[in-house]
């Protein structure tokens, strides 16, 4: 599958404009009619198309489009993100762009420039509007022709409580009055500020060379060279605190129009600053390390897959730092950032001069794409990366060393998508990390195939069931004291056409994973009951009971009671002859339907067996609240005790205690997987009532079961 499918659903510029107009007009109020909006957006899309198709891509055009969006009031809080979504989805489908090579990367470059430019322009506009509103406020106070005069006291109150920082200075720049918000921004008290020269209080941290300094700006304002000025960005207060603020300066005139004072207004724009960071994330590069980000990496990977000869080999490697949080939390975030930057630099160095891209795709996650990579020895590659990255980095005089986990995939470019490739690299990385720090792993086709086979197998279940490939066998459940059979436990067995066999628990797990189990439930119950009834008729003995185990999903099926009832009616089996196993996990996950099912089934006379009991006391409450007939110990506990018989295991002591508690309530205790006489003896001593296992009999077809 190619990564940028050629116009699978082709789109025209007009069509895209229509979609965009509908999306954008829901995000904010736009003062134009629907038709006008579509015309505008059509024009902008055409500009973007030209920008994408140009080589190199035309970033200036993207910025101009951004400015136009702001000028046309597409400035709702979600306007730009909705617009980017529409464009990201739509541009690659335009017929006009189908001929452009590597269009994925070209589009994302243009769109991320658009996003960044938008934030910048919007900030500028907000600054202007804020300055205007404050100016309006002051003129409302000072205007002599104003009919509604505001008392001096009133103005004082407003002025001092305003959230906008305001300072008024004489024409020499010395502050004559300022409010608390202003003082807070410059990190001083109001008393401190008054009498101080403004340029001493605030200056730009990143003074652009081509703009006058704040001091110069004040002068130009006084001399009439400027009527007003604006600054934004990081302004450094004399306290050395850096604040993200807007600042605007203008002149106040007396009623005769003679300039008397400067007014400086400031507002905290941290919020807007955050917006820009948010948009920056949609850009192409990671701000910290300067590496391409995930978005860029993925579009490059798509382009590479599309452009490559189908037989060319492509390698993707994921590199993840081991215990990065230890460094971040232990030594500090600055050290962590420093480390990430040096790792970025080292990786880039390693692949310099190759057709490769190194990207940072999450906090401590890097990815490397190597195109046309046939010859390289991948174990050598992993070793090189690990060696280079484990050399300590010096932060101050502290050496920090990290190890990394590496997941490597090499595949032919044809027949795999970018998504599949990165996913394969991810699973491989996780497998490596599970082994321990400093490990690498190669994509394991086998493992992947096993996973795929499982899905395949699950897909065959419905057919197998119809073809009668699924059988019921029975395994005896015996009393521990005299070995007499209490019940027969139904065991499913799937013999496939090729002779291979899928056992009971595997089968149920598959069915449960795929959700098939609920529709199989009725069949399982009817089949097990009817086979059992037939077997009983055949044997004409005192009928043993039938035990059928439900899966977690079956236990919470709201139709379970109906299904069980129907099976009993259809087969003529008595409710008293049926034991139903319900997994404890289904109960503890707190599903109300399970509890209801258990109650109703017990009322019918069916005996409920809670299966999978651990050595703790957690489930004892259920025995009090629910009509439970028996409890079966979890197989892993049985296996653990079988490995170390005697009573020195903590688990062994605990389980004995639990057994005596359970039995004191009159509930039967059952043990699965009992395979030797010694095990049987141990459990008998521990007080259990009954057991299953090869010691008492293998699962067998119905007619020779005893």
């Amino acid at each position: 599958m190619s990564a940028d499918p050629p116009a699978q659903s082709g789109l025209t510029v007009a069509g895209l404009a229509h979609v965009w107009a509908a999306a954008a007009s829901q995000t904010t109020y736009l003062p134009v009619s629907g038709d006008e909006l579509e015309q505008l957006l059509t024009r902008l899309i055409n500009r973007l198309v030209t920008a994408v198709a140009a080589a190199p891509t035309d970033e200036q055009a993207a910025i101009e489009v951004a400015a136009e969006l702001v000028a046309r009031d597409l400035t709702g809080s979600s306007s730009i993100s909705r617009s980017l979504e529409v464009l990201e989805d739509g541009l690659p489908r335009l017929a006009e762009l189908q001929h452009v090579g590597q269009r994925g990367a070209a589009i994302s470059r243009v769109l991320s420039t658009l996003a960044g430019g938008y934030a910048e322009v919007l900030r500028q506009r907000t600054l202007d509007e804020q300055a205007e509103v404050t100016q309006a406020l002051l003129q409302a106070k000072l205007g002599t022709e104003r009919e509604l005069w505001i008392s001096e006291a009133r103005f004082r109150q407003v002025f001092s409580e305003s959230a906008v920082g305001i300072a008024i200075s004489d024409l020499g720049g010395t502050v004559v009055t300022a409010n608390r918000a202003f003082a807070r921004i410059v990190g001083r008290t109001v008393d401190d500020v008054v009498g101080t020269a403004l340029p001493k209080l605030l200056y730009s941290a990143d003074q652009p060379a081509d703009e006058p300094t704040l001091g110069e700006a004040y002068h130009k304002l006084a001399s009439g060279e400027l009527t007003q000025f604006r600054r934004q960005g990081q302004l450094t207060a004399a306290s050395d605190e850096v604040a993200w603020i807007f600042l605007a300066g203008f002149l106040l005139h007396d009623p005769e129009g003679v300039p008397t004072h400067h007014v400086i207004t400031t507002e905290d724009i941290t919020e807007l600053h955050l917006l820009q960071q948010e948009l920056g994330r949609q850009g192409l590069h990671d701000r910290l390390t300067g590496l391409p980000n995930e978005y860029y990496f993925m579009s490059r990977l798509k382009d590479a897959l599309e452009a490559a000869d189908p037989s060319a080999m492509i390698t993707v490697s994921r590199v993840n730092l081991d215990s990065f949080s230890v460094i971040n939390d232990g030594i500090g975030v600055t050290a962590g950032d420093f480390l990430l930057c040096s790792i970025a630099a080292r990786l880039q160095e390693l692949f310099a001069g190759e057709r490769a891209m190194v990207a940072r795709i999450a906090s401590d996650d890097f990815a490397i794409l190597i195109e046309d990579d046939t010859q390289r020895d991948l174990s050598q590659l992993a070793a090189t990366i690990n060696t280079r990255l484990s050399e300590p980095v010096y932060f101050g005089n502290q050496g920090i060393a990290v190890s990394v986990g590496i997941g490597l995939v090499r595949r032919r470019a044809g027949g795999i998508s970018a998504g599949e490739l990165i996913r394969a690299a991810n699973t491989t990385l996780h497998r490596a990390k599970r082994v321990g720090p400093g490990q690498w792993d190669l994509y394991d086709m086998e493992y992947d195939i096993r996973q795929r086979e499982r899905c395949q197998l699950a897909a065959e279940i419905p057919g197998a069931w119809e073809n009668g490939e699924i059988d019921v066998h029975y395994q005896p459940l015996c009393r521990l004291d005299d070995g007499g059979i209490v019940a027969l436990a139904a065991v499913l067995r799937w013999e496939r056409a090729d002779g291979s066999v899928v056992g009971h628990s595997d089968f149920l797990e598959l069915a449960e994973q795929t959700g098939l189990v609920v529709s199989l439930g009725q069949w399982i119950l009817e089949k097990t009951c009817s086979v059992h009834v037939q077997a009983l008729n055949h044997r004409r003995e005192k009928p043993p009971l039938l035990r059928v185990d439900l899966t977690a999903q079956l236990s919470q099926d709201p139709d379970l009671v109906g299904v069980v009832r129907a099976a009993l009616v259809a087969t003529g089996l008595g409710a008293q002859q049926l034991w139903l196993g319900v997994p404890l996990t289904a109960l503890t996950r707190g599903h109300g339907d399970v509890v209801d099912n258990v109650r109703t089934l017990a009322e019918l006379g069916i005996k409920i067996v809670l299966i999978g009991a651990q050595a703790d006391h957690g489930y004892l409450a259920y025995l009090e609240d629910l009509p439970v007939g028996a409890v079966e110990i979890a197989p892993d506990i049985v296996a653990r005790i079988a490995g170390r018989p005697g009573n020195d295991l903590l688990v062994a002591r605990a389980i004995r205690q639990v057994i005596s508690l359970v039995r004191s309530t009159g509930v039967t205790v059952i043990v699965p997987g009992v395979d030797t006489p010694e095990q049987a003896q141990w459990w008998r001593d521990a007080g259990a009532d009954a057991a299953l296992g090869t010691h008492f009999g293998f699962p067998a077809p119905p007619f020779d079961s005893h």
Partner: protein, 263 residues
């Protein structure tokens, strides 16, 4: 009682501007707006579709030959002002804005500096004579010719004790035949969840709201003939595109709107 420039107390015009994604607002306005939005999440959409109604109505008036407008309760200049829409449709159009709030007025003055076809007057809408006889009105509007009178989202700040229908009638009586009134008014008729609570926030501000039912709003059109679509939820008045409505019926009709012609 004069209402001063009050930056500390939130103010309806600036709250409204914030919802329209304008930046002519202060922290106190944004705080109130956010509180209201929390209990009435659709409010932004409602404001947006109301503003879209304003655009369609002004366009309709220009298309009907109206060249002079009196916008009473005009608010803070924000996205898509009456004079911008009208003068874009026909540069001959003249607009007089009226608001009682001094920041809104000062602000409008800034915006209108250099536009000799538009002006702003600071006045209370009850002072009909003062407004109509104001030098600016006299300069820009010819009351012997039809006028487009706009009273958008303003009468719901007027209590019954002021007799709002009587006020509208006083304007009507001074307007030439062929004039139009364009009026919108928030209502509780759709009773969207959260509206009652939102109104309680307004009660703590200097500008409580008085929402009215359909028949009460209809009465404001006495002596005017409602043009096609009649008095309807503002999103349903001659909609022209997807931006004119939102996906909540209640928000589409949070304000009634209509245009009436003086015979």
């Amino acid at each position: 009682m004069p209402s001063g420039v009050d930056q500390v107390m939130p103010n309806a015009a600036r709250v409204y501007d914030y919802w329209l994604d304008g930046a002519h607002n202060f922290a106190a306005d944004r705080a109130l707006a956010d509180k209201i939005q929390q209990v009435l999440p659709g409010i932004r959409d409602a404001i947006r579709v109301h503003r879209a109604f304003l655009r369609r109505a002004v366009q309709f008036l220009v298309d009907s030959g109206i060249r002079q407008f009196l916008d009473v309760g005009s608010g803070i200049p924000t996205v898509g002002n009456v004079h911008e829409i009208a003068q874009r449709a026909n540069p001959e159009c003249r607009v007089v804005y009226v608001d009682k709030e001094s920041v809104a007025v000062a602000h409008s003055e800034l915006l209108l500096a250099g536009n000799d076809r538009a002006a702003v007057i600071q006045a209370d809408l009850r002072d009909v004579e003062k407004i109509l006889d104001h030098p600016q009105t006299k300069r820009l509007l010819d009351l012997d010719q039809p006028v487009g009178l706009l009273m958008l989202a303003v009468l719901h700040f007027v209590p019954d004790s002021w007799d709002p229908a009587g006020i509208v009638a006083r304007y009507r009586d001074r307007l030439a035949s062929g004039s139009y009134v364009t009026l919108s008014h928030a209502t509780t008729d759709g009773s969207p969840a959260g509206l009652a609570e939102a109104l309680r926030f307004y009660e703590q501000t200097p500008e409580p709201m008085y929402l009215r039912g359909y028949d009460e709003v209809l009465r404001f059109f006495a002596g005017f003939e409602l043009v096609e679509s009649g008095l309807v939820g503002c999103a349903f008045w001659r909609p022209s595109g997807p931006g004119d409505s939102c996906n909540s019926t209640e928000m589409n009709a949070l304000a009634y709107a209509g245009v009436g012609r003086k015979p």
